[in-house]
Amino acid sequence: MSTETVAARPVPAMPRVAPPVDVYENRDAVILAVDVPGVVRDNLTIEIEGDELLLTARQGELPKGEALHLGFAPVEFRRAFRVPRGLDSSNVSAALDNGVLRITLPKSDAIRPRRIAVA
């Protein structure tokens, strides 16, 4: 009996695009706002390893039918950030709304501005 191995068909490589990002800051947190149109939550990952935050997001499939014009084929959005020291990367939260991803990185207590009472 032959033991032929059938390799899983590789997922076709999607073109990679670095999505545009805004960075906002206040005394408590840093927010990254990222445009990722066509991405649902299940196709989005945010990985934090060491001081690197890696965002990967895949657009959904195209509608059926023959494409007469393709201005945006499905792409993989991918962008990495160095998480500055002082951000609490264990408490990151993210929300996806109408194609815009907001990642909130709270500042750790050590770097929050604090008032020190002078005795």
Binding site: Y24, P37, G65, E66, N98, R114
Partner: protein
Amino acid sequence: MLFDWYDYDRNVSSFDNFRRQFDRLLSEQGARGPAASTSVPAANIFESPEELTVQLAIPGVPRESLELELTDNVLTITGERKIEVPEGFVARRRERAPTQFRRTFALPHPVNPDRTQAALRDGILTVRIARAEPPKPRQIDVTEG
């Protein structure tokens, strides 16, 4: 007294350095650069025997700002998004552009404007327009005389 011990400038430059490194890495892998934020959103158009589908990538454009018009087989879509810094925050980097757009599409087939559906989902507007049924052939009697 208020001490601000947070040294952000150094951190911002580390964002920048990393961005440069990452962009270089991307370009080595043959990826495209940052998606340009232009005032003309990217569009897809598909056809099937039953319908035409027009898609626009418009992340962050609120539904209320969208206007669609279909006249004489021309579809016009206008919309707008403002970029607002969250209250109490300061912008440290701004790559996302506010947009105010108007796109018109001359549809390649006759359509039935009464059967049009538009949905905004995950920052993509999808407009589905039924194609008009082809006119039925008419039999013409030949009269004598």
